[in-house]
């Protein structure tokens, strides 16, 4: 099928207004998350470019189809970055293409630093989008604080194009770090690791990454804690944390810039599961519940991020869906099938009144069911 590729917001609005069949909206096409959609492919990559960048105000405005790499390069040049550290899904999902900034926010993609500074949705200041009636809507703005009217910005973040096609985004950006240190400890059990990570996150030492791999590169478990800031501050906090965590385990300190960057990129992108077969699930839970939930799922291997609050699970193909959903539902939290057969629904079933609100919003923003219909379908309630 020919891909629709509007070059302007007005053209996009016209396409939606006159569409007579569902549209499958994509940015770079690198994040096929949710239930696969049947529909005419619509690409946002024709809407590209950084419109405004004010490093002194920590703000950038970019069109939705702007390549993420272009955004990151512009930021790096001014010593800034996207603090929420969006994951690159290509390795895990075997996709190719150029991730776009619109796709990052449509899927609300956040990496390890979410525990400290917040997720993608927390850095989205404003949006323009075309709703399912072809109407252009603006919400939010390009200022840090804005409570004027309802916050549709948050609603659009993580709505996977089902309420509207994002055309332009205003972002809050942050200063990059001068130095990074990673505290590493081998051999901890999941419980011990999460306890140590919680302790670190409950300290005043501003941890910006807290992860645990059941199988690190050496084959055994590895627990990792990241510190960022000025060189002297990082060194000071690393020492304090080592002392604080002494009775949890012996943490060594790695400060080599290339190695520290690589180990967090691997966590961010779930690299250990790239070349392994099986389904991959993403669970969001209360950190101290995490080891117990993982223990209930037979044959699973886990990577814990966000101090335990985010679990990446590798399970044999087509297996364990019910156990996973039940384990999560029992504790409060949610599980999403990221890699595997998603036709039956990828997201956690919602309580009926919440599902009704969600459905009501969808009918309002996309009354004709044109925009990625069914993508956010929930898995069968178990």
């Amino acid at each position: 099928m020919k891909t629709l590729k509007p070059e302007s917001e007005a053209e996009l609005a016209e396409i939606v207004r006159t569409a007579d069949e569902p549209l499958r909206i994509q940015g770079g096409g690198t994040r096929p998350i949710g239930v696969p959609v049947n529909g005419a492919p619509l690409s946002t990559t024709g809407l590209s470019g950084i419109e405004l960048y004010e490093p002194g105000a920590l703000t950038m405005v970019a069109k939705a189809g702007t390549p993420l790499a272009q955004v990151e390069a512009a930021l790096a040049q001014a010593g800034q970055r996207l603090a929420f550290e969006p994951m690159d899904h290509r390795g895990l999902l075997g996709t190719v293409g150029e991730p776009t900034i619109g796709g990052v926010f449509a899927a609300n993609v956040s990496g390890p630093r979410r525990i400290q500074g917040g997720g993608a949705r927390d850095f989205l200041l404003g949006v323009r989008f075309v709703d399912g009636r072809g109407e252009v809507i603006r919400n939010g703005g390009r200022v840090m604080k804005n409570v004027t009217g309802y916050d549709l910005v948050k609603l659009m973040a993580g709505s996977y194009g089902t309420l509207g096609v994002l055309t332009e985004l205003a972002l809050k950006v942050m200063p990059a770090t001068q130095a990074t240190a990673v505290l590493l400890c081998e051999g901890l059990t999941d419980e011990e690791a999460v306890a140590a990570l919680c302790r670190a996150l409950g300290s005043p030492f501003e941890v910006t990454g807290a992860a645990h791999l059941q199988r690190g590169t050496g084959g055994g478990p590895v627990t990792m804690i990241r510190l960022e800031g000025s060189e002297s501050s990082v060194a000071y906090r690393a020492g304090e944390l080592q002392a604080l965590l002494a009775h949890h385990g012996e943490f060594g300190v790695e400060t080599d810039p290339a190695r520290t960057a690589a180990c967090w990129r691997d966590i961010r992108d779930v690299a250990p599961f790239h070349d392994r077969s099986g389904d991959v699930w993403r669970l969001s839970v209360k950190p101290t519940d995490a080891p117990g939930i993982v223990a209930r799922i037979e044959g699973a291997e886990a990577i814990y991020d966000w101090g335990g609050g985010l679990i990446w699970l590798l399970v044999p193909q087509g297996r364990q869906a019910d156990t996973i959903r039940q384990a999560v539902a029992g504790h409060g939290g949610h599980a999403t099938l990221i890699r595997g057969s998603r036709a039956g629904g990828a997201f956690q079933p919602l309580a009926p009144p919440v599902a009704a609100l969600q459905e009501g919003l969808r009918r309002r923003f996309d009354p004709r069911g044109l925009l990625n219909p069914g993508l956010m379908g929930q898995g069968a309630a178990s």
Partner: protein, 478 residues
């Protein structure tokens, strides 16, 4: 200011309503004597008052649900209320409404420092949330100046901010979950101790919806470990432009202070007369605060003073002790009280891109002169959240002039790429200015959200949207 006509048929059913309400909550939880409902006639926007038909003070989610079911059934509008400190008239009643106040819902339900969250009933005050976790070494970050009085419910409804949000964000960035009752009595749970929503981010939508989507009864909040220490530096300049440029340079240099506060000469003069903090007599001053260990604080402050040095400051005063810190903050913290001594004032909170500060300050000065009113400025400069305080004399009939000046200033904020309100909310105060920031389609999309949560438009119906824009929906519901 206009409010919708009171519906006589609703007033006529008052007695029946009161007896039904009394059947679902304890007798002393229903207030209907006009002498007592007067207490609830306004919030902190005291220029507008209207006692409600009745007030209910429930103690549980179940009671809130029962009360809403009855009001919904009888077609009675409901105005949710926290502590009544809204500066935008968000909690202003109508004569035919029931106020649901959550002031009796103040319990801590669960405190979990290990997982860094606390769950409270929504009537608990902001400061009492921090108080509940203080011994564990934690705090709740959003800190509106009203934190001693304001309730978490109001903070959520207004998405309130505080002096430290440059680093820690506002309410929405620190809110993990809510229990909320819809107008028809349905109880919904959004979010929880885990991160991110399972489906659409309804929690993010509810935060800042000004009590129009549901009545929040419980909240799950992120708590943070207290920093080792904090110290400010005071930087004085002989022009607002230079102070504004210094703010940009600090941010650009990659230092991230917890707060950058700004005061202009009229404000400095007022606070000196009132609190005598010993501020230098200058055109503009900044208070920049950083956090960390002693050595980390020293390091950051020296970077900041090096940047400030390039802007030829009149004076730089780095705090070296807790007493010196308190002195630096004294004037800033008493600014509102000090300006209050000079007469009546309106406090606006339009937000602008930081780079526009010098231009906007200059224009505000000019507009003030055009209207013959003085304006003092004190605000959160790091995030461009202005707080122009317009001085006037209500007894001399200047309220309308002051409001007109305020509207011009807010329009200016929007023109330079900012917004009408950065933390106080729209309420009734800025309702009729919404058309300056939003197109009809933008407003339509927002009202569509309310249609979904509250199809009958009974919850706080006359707020946020210009009355003519919401008229057809409110009428249809009648």
């Amino acid at each position: 200011m206009d409010m919708p006509d009171v519906r006589p048929e609703v007033l006529a059913r008052k007695e029946a309503l009161v007896s039904r309400l009394q059947a679902v909550v304890p007798p002393d939880a229903v207030i209907h004597d006009p002498a007592e409902t007067r207490v609830y006639e306004c919030d902190a926007l005291t220029a507008y008052t209207c006692p409600p038909m009745a007030v209910v003070l429930p103690t549980s989610t179940q009671e809130v649900s029962d009360v809403l079911r009855i009001c919904s059934d009888m077609g009675v509008p409901v105005v949710p209320r926290g502590a009544g400190t809204s500066l935008a008239g968000g909690a202003l009643p109508t004569a035919d409404c029931v106020v649901i106040g959550v002031a009796r819902m103040t319990e801590v339900l669960e405190s979990d420092p290990g997982n860094r969250f606390i769950r409270v009933q929504a009537g608990r005050t902001n400061l009492a949330v921090s108080g509940a976790v203080e011994e564990d070494g934690f705090f709740y970050a959003p800190d509106p100046s009203s934190q001693l009085a304001c309730a978490i419910a109001g903070n959520i409804a207004m998405n309130s901010g505080g002096a430290h949000c440059l680093k820690y964000g506002v309410t929405t960035n620190n809110l993990l979950g809510v229990t909320m009752v819809l107008m028809d009595g349905t109880v919904v749970e959004l979010g929880g101790a885990h991160a991110d929503a399972a489906g659409l981010d309804l929690l993010g939508l509810v935060c800042g919806s000004e009590g129009q989507l549901g009545v929040v009864t419980e909240a799950c909040l992120r708590i943070l470990p207290k920093p080792e220490g904090a110290r400010p530096v005071l930087l004085a300049f002989d022009s607002s432009e230079v102070a504004g440029a210094c703010v940009s340079d600090i941010i650009r240099a990659g230092v991230l202070p917890v707060a950058i506060e700004f005061m202009d000469r009229p404000c400095i003069r007022a606070t000196e007369a009132f609190a005598g903090a010993g501020y230098p007599d200058c055109e503009a001053l900044l208070i920049v605060e950083v956090e960390g260990s002693e050595a980390e604080i020293d390091e950051q402050l020296s970077r900041i003073t090096a940047i400030a040095q390039r802007h030829d400051p009149v004076e730089m005063r780095e705090s070296r002790s807790a007493e010196e810190s308190a002195r630096i903050w004294l004037g800033r913290k008493s600014a509102f009280g000090a300006v209050g001594q000079l007469g009546d004032y309106i406090c606006l909170d339009g937000t602008i891109p930081v780079g526009e500060l010098p231009h906007v300050l200059k224009r505000i000065g000019e507009l003030g002169r055009d209207y013959g009113l003085s304006v003092a400025n004190v605000f959160h400069a790091g995030d461009g959240n202005m707080h122009p305080l317009i001085l006037f004399d209500a007894n001399a009939g200047q309220l309308e002039t002051a409001e007109a000046l305020g509207a011009d200033i807010l329009r200016l904020c929007v023109e330079v790429g900012g917004c009408l309100t950065g933390e106080h909310g729209v309420g009734v105060e800025k309702r009729d200015l919404m058309g300056h920031q939003f197109t009809p389609a933008d407003l339509e999309a927002q009202m569509a959200v309310k249609d979904v949560f509250d199809p009958g438009w009974l919850l706080n119906p006359a707020k946020v949207f210009p009355l003519d824009a919401s008229a057809s929906r409110r009428m249809a519901a009648e």
